[in-house]
Amino acid sequence: MTTVAPTPPKTTERAPTPVRARRAHGTHSSYPTWFYLPAAVIYGALFLIPTLASFYFSLTRWTIFKSTFIGLDNYTAFFQEPALVKGFVNTFLYAIVTSGLKVVLGLFLGILLTSQIRARGYLRSAVFFPVLVSTVGVGITFTAFMDPSTGAINKALSAIGVDGPGWLTDPSLALFSVALVDVWKGVGLATVIYIAGIVSIPDEYHEAAKLDGANAWQLLRNVVLPLSWPATSTVIILSLIGGLRSFDLIWAMTRGGPGFSSDVVASVIYKQYQAGFYGLSTAGNVILFLVVTAVIVPLSRFLARKEVQR
């Protein structure tokens, strides 16, 4: 009997080694490395090689017929682009405005649609519906709505005696008008993420807080907000990335106009491509890639750190 006693610690001590060995060995034996090959070929051919090639082509003057190596000239030219400085400012403005509004409105709608209200299922679908509509379709529709003289919005405003502005034709307003449409279209997704986040908060927290006499605001501030933080960080990351590389809606509504006043980095890049400056537009894409990475990587680290343990 006494000889039995030391055995368990021995096995527990020994146990990790065979497990580790088995796991390492297991991946090797039951799934041979060449199983990765098809995926690696597709990933390499469609993603890695083009990405690396684009770094090279961004250093060339590239026509459809030939490419000439010109060093960093494309980058210099890109930074001298009159629309570019404006484009950068606009990109960040657009990303911050859209993701900020999506967080605030998404949270509000999420709380509203998880509470006991009438027609909740219907309202949830109604809020989510714009997400399903084609972006270009939304853009064209809202362009018609926002027409300063014949659009529905300004006609409605003039019915109550307000002289509506040129939503898309006033250079200082155009970008914000597009951002509002983006929020209208994207807030449904943010709401769904928040609904999932809020619903997954265990009831015990609510009950405990209520027992302690917390009012609705305190409940929101100290229970719902911190515990739905993963939802908030997901919404921020998704909408910020979406905002930074936003293109389709802006192109459908203003094409960067009037003039260059609602140009973002992506639309500047597209215009260079359209004009046949392939090397220049590739350089722009490399810059956009670096900028998005430089913003999103630290931000996602920061947001992940703020997550609370349940």
Partner: protein, 430 residues
């Protein structure tokens, strides 16, 4: 298996091409493919041309294919030429865009063919590179200037201005009458460029060496006093409030309606829009006339002209097909070819083929444009003389015309824009 499936259609098409290739013999039919852009005027001209040609040459069958226009079309043309998959005959721009498809490598020259002698002298340089000619025009020439409502002009007792000062004086009188003097439609951004591009006849009249200096990076829009005037005019129109108040959101279609109904009196535009007016306001079409954008000097008053697209033969067309294609080109460069095209789409100016005359019932705009050609008072637009054209001129001129930036800033921005194009083309001196 996949490889076999992929190759099969190629084999099949090779077979059919082979059997058609033997059609040089008597009795067999040759079929050729003609690729044209989908703009209604061009497409209809090409279709009617093909139909009339088939009627005369029953042994040749011409099938017309379409492609998108604009930059998308440019890329498609370049790609198909590069991959040797171009149709037997295709329609594309002349001038600077034509230079960009590398004609010496991709196209078959037609310099020695007899029908080239029928082409107008002004057109041949547009399709010639390194001493070789490559194209035959499809469609008519067009003018860039001012479309005006003749009824408004008659009512106010105005006459066609021959200097810019007269144009502004006319505009002030029209404004006093409560009619919009100058229509601008910045929702369709390309329409904003006319005051700059259409002013080129005046630039070259005042300064014949401009094109050479400009192409060699010596003359600049911002610093050359003559070239700068186009941008100044654009700013002036805005500063004097001569535009329609909804200039920022108006479209080309709306602008044409304003002009036809007399709500607006003058519209800087290309004469290609005739078909647009014909669709929207057919009854008022002949109320609208055309005059060239006036400059400072009444003595050199003249038109800035745009050239029609041309039909080109890629190097890949050979044998019996090449013979058939050349027959079609000869037909297009003959009076019968012009007549066929005029039947399908309203001419916007003269045909650039010797012996072609305009039908007598053409709209007033066409007659007015053709008169400048008859007088010899025209110069080609800058884009036909120099490969240097910046791609962002439409947005830059929208900014100047909307008062977002002034003329000087706009001209400087355009100079930077043209530099990119020149560098892309590898021109020396940039």
């Amino acid at each position: 298996m996949v490889a076999v499936a992929a190759v099969l259609p190629l084999v099949l098409s090779a077979c059919s091409a082979g059997s058609l290739g033997s059609s040089g013999e008597e009795g067999d039919a040759t079929s050729i493919k003609l690729l044209v852009d989908n703009a209604p005027d061009n497409l209809q001209s090409a279709q009617q041309l093909a139909k009339a040609f088939e009627a005369k040459n029953p042994k040749t069958k011409v099938s017309v294919e379409t492609r998108p226009g604009g930059t998308e079309g440019d890329n498609l043309i370049k790609t198909r030429l590069q991959t040797d998959s171009m149709a037997d005959l295709f329609v594309y721009n002349v001038g600077s865009l034509f230079q960009q498809i590398d004609p010496t490598k991709t196209l078959t020259p037609i310099t020695q063919d007899p029908y080239v002698k029928n082409l107008d002298e002004s057109f041949v340089p547009q399709v010639t590179v390194g001493g070789q000619t490559y194209g035959v025009p499809l469609g008519s020439a067009l003018g860039g200037g001012v479309l005006y409502n003749r009824k408004v002009y008659d009512r106010l007792g105005l006459s066609v201005p021959r200097t810019w000062a007269e144009f502004i004086a006319n505009s002030e009188k029209i404004k006093a009458d409560g009619v919009t003097p100058v229509i601008q439609t910045y929702q369709d951004t390309w329409t904003s460029q006319l005051l700059v591009l259409g002013d080129f006849h005046n630039v070259s009249a005042a300064e014949p060496g401009f094109v050479k200096d400009y192409t060699a990076n010596k003359a600049k829009y911002a610093t050359d006093p003559n070239a700068f005037k186009g941008f100044q005019h654009l700013q002036q129109i805005h500063d004097l409030k001569l535009q329609n108040p909804d200039f920022a959101s108006a479209t080309l279609v709306k602008g044409l309606q304003m002009l036809a109904t007399g709500k607006g009196a003058q519209y800087p535009m290309l004469s290609t829009v005739i078909s647009g007016i014909k669709t929207s306001n057919p009854d008022q079409l002949n109320d609208i006339g055309f005059f060239a954008l006036p400059g400072d000097d009444a003595a050199t008053n003249g038109l800035t002209a745009w050239f029609p697209n041309a039909l080109y033969v890629p190097k890949t067309t050979t044998g019996g097909k090449l013979a058939a294609v050349k027959k079609l080109l000869a037909f297009a460069a003959s009076p019968a070819g012009c007549t066929a095209q005029a039947k399908a789409s309203t001419p916007t100016g003269p045909y650039l083929v010797k012996g072609c005359t305009l039908p007598t019932d053409v709209p007033t705009i066409t007659k007015d444009v053709a008169a400048y050609f008859t007088k010899g008072a025209q110069s080609p637009a800058l884009e036909f003389l120099s490969p240097v054209k910046g791609p962002s001129l439409d947005q830059i001129s929208v900014q100047v015309g909307s008062g977002i930036t002034n003329a000087k800033t706009g001209a400087t921005q355009y100079d930077n824009d043209t530099r990119k194009q020149a560098q892309q083309l590898g021109l020396s001196g940039w």
